[in-house]
């Protein structure tokens, strides 16, 4: 089994164009999807995030303490939420990711966590 981070990538500007009804439907579909992967034993953890403008970056590298307003990367698209799942292999993780993407209406990036042996790739 491998654990994967499923990141939901949202274009937050586009979200303004989505009607309340559609938002409600996305929430409901995401809730159903969460129930499904809990029942199937793939669920590890999940969460939805507030708007990227609510983010703050703090940098403590080499003893510094620099606080900056806003997300780390200035981008059009930002992380909207995520799941941590456990799957047999990438094929299963991609299938779960596809269903999650369909439910929440955003593209999903599927990325493996490092195993106990440490990183396999640079």
């Amino acid at each position: 089994m491998t654990q994967y981070l499923l990141s939901v990538i949202h274009d937050w500007n586009d979200l303004g164009d989505v009607s309340d009804e559609e938002v409600q439907e996305m929430f409901a579909a995401t809730g159903r999807f969460n129930d499904e992967i809990q029942a199937s034993g793939h669920w590890v953890f999940a969460g939805g995030l507030e708007h990227p403008s609510t983010a703050t970056v703090v940098n403590g590298v080499k003893g510094a303490n620099i606080v900056t307003d806003g997300p780390y990367l200035e981008a059009k698209e930002h992380l909207g939420g995520f799941w941590v799942i456990e799957a047999a292999d990438l094929d299963e993780a991609l299938e779960i990711g596809r269903r999650g993407s369909m439910a929440c209406g955003g593209a999903v990036e599927v990325r493996p966590f490092q195993g106990e042996d440490g990183p396999a790739g640079a």
Binding site: T2, L90, A93, R111, P112, A120, G121, A122
Partner: protein, 414 residues
């Protein structure tokens, strides 16, 4: 005969060396695929196979080629892997498991070897890998080409190609891309991905400029791998792709004369490879009989109509247009529309075809400019034809094709 004299003689015999490299090429995919399953590690498998090949090159000239070279290489590589795991003192769980597996299974039983090669091609062509990486991995692992050979064939520095292959293998490991044949529900889609990789490899070899031996090898390699996949999975689309490759390959020698591209209508048809044409035609008949026409089958059928005509003037253009119509229903694409328009020119005249070509949105696709130039020429619109040849020349990097286009442009006169 003493081993010494055998070795000396073999070292001088390029035919023997050729024979060995042919065997190695043919067996590489099978051996690596089996080793990956047993070791659970692509790098370890590759290294072990490479060591076994070195041993083969040392021993075979003297001892002769073993009766079953594939099994010999698999056993030897397995032993090399055990040595390596012991030597490097790798004692993590995975390697210990691998060691147990090998110790239990040597000598190699006649297991589901064919399945291993299928697993390997599906892992090499996994959609989670970038298309250029799929090609590189397939040629490296299944085709047994060296990194240097692949780099030369794709005109990139060897370090770039090595990095591409290394990163892909790391991703397979880290992301846990499964070493298995996709489940039934995904098989058709995933197989289409495999066939796309094989066709890209073929075209890379076929469309390359003349006189670059290694790139021609790519076409032969693609044909060999397609035959292999076809022997492992029954699908009319695999037959279709193989037929398409064979009917294209059959025309290779007639396609270039004195470094200049010769278009289909002007080729010396007696120079086509009759055996390849026959095999291609037989495959087209067989796959179309299955009644599930796909894009490769239809393209093969179009090529079969072309190669069925003893002379270009005898080509059944009506049938070709009909086949393109079918293709456009299954897989709409502006490129297929362009090719259909070229056939329409023969049926309904260049003015009708030109109207079709000008409706297409293919600004940087030089075959579209060439087709336009040829149609304008037939309509005697020379100034526009000349401009279209110039635009096509600006986009074509293939020397033989450039030479052809320059000739066509010159022959317009003034």
């Amino acid at each position: 005969m003493s081993p010494g004299t055998g070795s000396d003689r073999a070292a001088l015999d390029p035919q023997f060396a050729e024979q060995i490299s042919g065997i190695v090429r043919a067996e590489h995919g099978r051996v690596v695929a089996t080793l990956i399953r047993r070791l659970g590690d692509i790098d370890l498998a590759e290294d072990a196979v490479a060591e076994a090949l070195v041993t083969a090159l040392e021993r075979w000239p003297a001892d002769g080629i073993p009766p079953n070279p594939g099994a010999w290489l698999t056993t030897t590589a397995g032993n090399k892997a055990i040595d390596r795991i012991r030597r490097e003192g790798k004692r993590d769980l995975k390697h210990k498991e691998a060691l147990d597996m090998i110790d239990d299974s040597l000598p190699e039983p006649t297991g589901p070897v064919a399945d291993d090669r299928l697993r390997l091609i599906f892992i090499c062509c996994h959609p989670a890998l970038a298309p250029e990486n799929r090609i590189a991995l397939t040629l490296r692992l299944l085709g047994g080409l060296t990194v240097a050979e692949i780099a030369r064939a794709f005109l990139v520095p060897e370090t770039t190609m090595a990095q591409r292959i290394t990163r892909s293998k790391q991703k397979i490991k880290a992301a846990n891309i499964p070493y298995q044949v996709p489940r039934e529900a995904d098989l058709v889609e995933r197989l289409a991905g495999v066939l796309a990789v094989l066709y890209l490899i073929f075209n890379e070899g076929y469309l390359a400029s003349a006189g670059e031996g290694l790139r021609e090898d790519l076409s032969a390699e693609a044909i060999r791998l397609t035959r292999q996949v076809g022997s492992l999975i029954r699908s009319p689309e695999i037959d279709g792709l193989l037929a398409l490759m064979l009917l294209t390959e059959a025309r290779r020698d007639a396609r270039i004369a004195d470094g200049v591209l010769v278009t289909l209508d002007r080729q010396d048809r007696s120079r086509w490879d009759a055996d390849l044409v026959d095999e291609g035609h037989a495959l087209v008949r067989r796959c179309l009989a299955a009644g599930r026409p796909g894009p490769y089958q239809l393209q093969a059928a179009i090529n079969a109509v072309h190669t069925d005509a003893l002379d270009a003037s005898l080509t059944d253009w009506r049938q070709i247009v009909q086949l393109y119509d079918q293709l456009l229903v299954i897989q709409p694409s502006p490129i297929a529309e362009l090719n259909r328009a070229v056939a329409v020119a023969e049926l309904d005249g260049p003015d009708v075809a030109l109207a079709l070509v000008e409706r297409l949105d293919l600004p940087d696709y030089h075959p579209a400019l060439v087709a336009r130039a040829e149609l304008l020429r037939r309509l005697d619109r020379r100034t526009e034809a000349r401009a279209a040849y110039d635009a096509a020349l600006a986009l074509s990097a293939n020397e033989a094709e450039r030479a052809h286009l320059v000739r066509r442009r010159e022959s317009l006169g003034s």
